[in-house]
Amino acid sequence: MMLVPCAWCGPRDAAEFQHVGEAVARPDVGSATREQWRAYLYLRANPCGWTTETWYHRMGCRKFISVERHTETNEIRAVRAAGAAQ
């Protein structure tokens, strides 16, 4: 079982969470080019190593958290509230 340490609930089973992925800022609708929309819709970092991503505690506090995870070992080293300063 993989544990995700929720910023509010403490360590919980990963099955309670929904993986949202890399947080990407939405471009301005009026001025975005096709390439920018493509990047916003489809392009996400896919590193083999440490990555910072958003998880949603779907079956718990229902809050979004920002998680630093190693994608090869699934080790988690830092968790904070999504949007909070590092």
């Binding site: 099955a15 993986h19 819709l41 489809y42 996400r44 896919n46 090869e72 070992t73």
Partner: protein
């Protein structure tokens, strides 16, 4: 546009194998106590090749084989960071089918099935293709509707598919629980007789042997560490065994596709997810078809040895980890028993995971990229193995002609910017 080269034997270069695999040769070598020569040879890494293919799985080796067999390009290196077929080619559940949802997809995968049917004769290698039919179960009105749609698209493309009722499902696979007492009762199924299973290792070895006999160099344990690109054009590849100068590089990796493309500076709309599978102890043959249930996230087939192979949908989060999890096997066992309660005493022997490069529309990314000479055959998600031969044939054509063959024109990298996706989620994803 160049016409599609036919993959059948009569158009091929005659391959002089070091030892032909035949009943007569088996008898003769047995009689004379002769050893068989290795199926492919070891070579020193040359300083330059016409074409370098990254990834020694079914896609990379098929591309190398068809480059040599159909186009006469034999100065080709196939690099793999581990042994041949160590990635997705050896980790899939070896199911073949062509009952997809879009006309582009159906045409493409049907060509693959045609090549697979001829493959044992083409390669002089028993790939153990077993054409046994493929049943996709519908547990809801919505999925039954999608199946009718798929059946009509298939028929329009000349592919044999039809929707059958639960009584027919019971006749084709008597161990399935089609009663209304089931948690998700079976309402019907998409019956696809040309589908089947094959021995995936044999396909990899057969292509490797065929490519080697035509002069392709196969380099195992050779990891690519960098790709040299100057002025928007590929110049060479750096590996753990030395540098190679080349003008054409094909990325035929799965799982690590985005990492290889990062080396060349090509962005891919791909996320990597593990997919787990499991196999049971062998039992007597009782299941003559491949069973798939999208609602229950499971597919089941019985190998020629009698083992039951179970597959599922991808794990719920991105990862490069290939370890199995207990949650997966618990969930899978529950779903299998929903379908076939009689299997409750069968023991699981082992489970494993492979890496799936998921694209937004569940279709692959194939062809040229903005970097001149750098081609991709990636984004194979959960459907890469069944497309091996046609991808190899099309990518070989793409490299030899410098143009994109019509059969893969819909799968270009530029479709994402243009918004012309090839939506196969309804037919390619188990968990739709």
């Amino acid at each position: 546009m160049q016409a599609l080269t036919n993959g059948y034997r009569q158009d091929r270069r005659r391959v002089a194998y070091p030892a032909k695999y035949s009943g007569l040769n088996l008898f003769r070598r047995g009689l004379m106590h002769q050893e068989w020569p290795p199926a492919w040879r070891h070579h020193d890494l040359k300083g330059s090749y016409d074409v370098v293919i990254i990834g020694g799985g079914v896609h990379g080796l098929a591309a190398a084989y068809y480059l040599a067999a159909n186009h006469g390009i034999t100065d080709v290196a196939v690099l793999d960071k581990s042994y041949l077929g160590s990635g997705g080619s050896g980790r899939n559940t070896a199911i073949l089918r062509s009952n997809y949802l879009t006309p582009e997809g159906v045409r493409f995968y049907d060509r693959s099935i045609q090549l697979y049917r001829q493959l044992a004769a083409d390669l002089d290698f028993n790939v153990m293709f077993s054409r046994r039919g493929h049943l996709t179960l519908a547990h809801s009105d919505a999925s039954l509707r999608t199946m009718r749609w798929r059946a009509e698209v298939n028929k329009a493309q000349g592919v044999d598919s039809e929707v059958v009722d639960p009584a027919e499902v019971k006749r084709l696979a008597p161990f399935i629980d089609v009663s209304l007492q089931a948690r998700y009762p079976v309402l019907g199924a998409l019956w696809h007789p040309p589908g089947g299973i094959i021995r995936h290792d044999a396909v990899v070895w057969g292509y490797a042997r065929g490519a080697d006999a035509l002069g392709v160099h196969i380099h195992q344990n050779t990891e690519v560490t960098g790709i040299d690109v100057t002025d928007g054009r590929v110049r060479g590849v750096r590996t753990t065994r030395g540098d190679i100068a080349t003008r054409v590089v094909l990325n035929a990796t799965a799982g690590w596709a985005t990492l290889i493309c990062d080396m060349a500076g090509v962005e891919l709309p791909i996320q990597t997810f593990p997919l787990q599978a499991a196999v049971t102890e062998p039992v007597k043959p009782f299941l003559s078809t491949v069973i798939v249930s999208g609602t229950l996230h499971v597919y089941i087939s019985q190998t020629d040895r009698g083992e039951l192979v179970f597959g599922a949908s991808v794990d719920p989060f991105t990862s490069y980890s290939m370890r199995g999890s207990l949650e997966f096997i618990e969930g899978l066992a529950g779903h299998v028993l929903e379908l076939m309660p009689a299997l409750s005493k069968v023991r699981v022997l082992r489970q494993w995971a492979g890496l799936c490069d998921m694209t937004p529309d569940f279709s692959p990314v194939m062809g040229h990229t903005p970097v001149d000479g750098f081609l991709v055959d990636v984004g194979w998600g959960t459907y890469g193995f069944k497309a091996g031969p046609v991808s190899g044939e099309a990518m070989a054509n793409c490299i030899a002609s410098g143009q994109t063959p019509e059969i893969i024109a819909a799968f270009g990298l530029d479709r994402f910017a243009g918004g012309v996706l090839v939506g196969e989620k309804g037919a390619a994803a188990v968990g739709h």
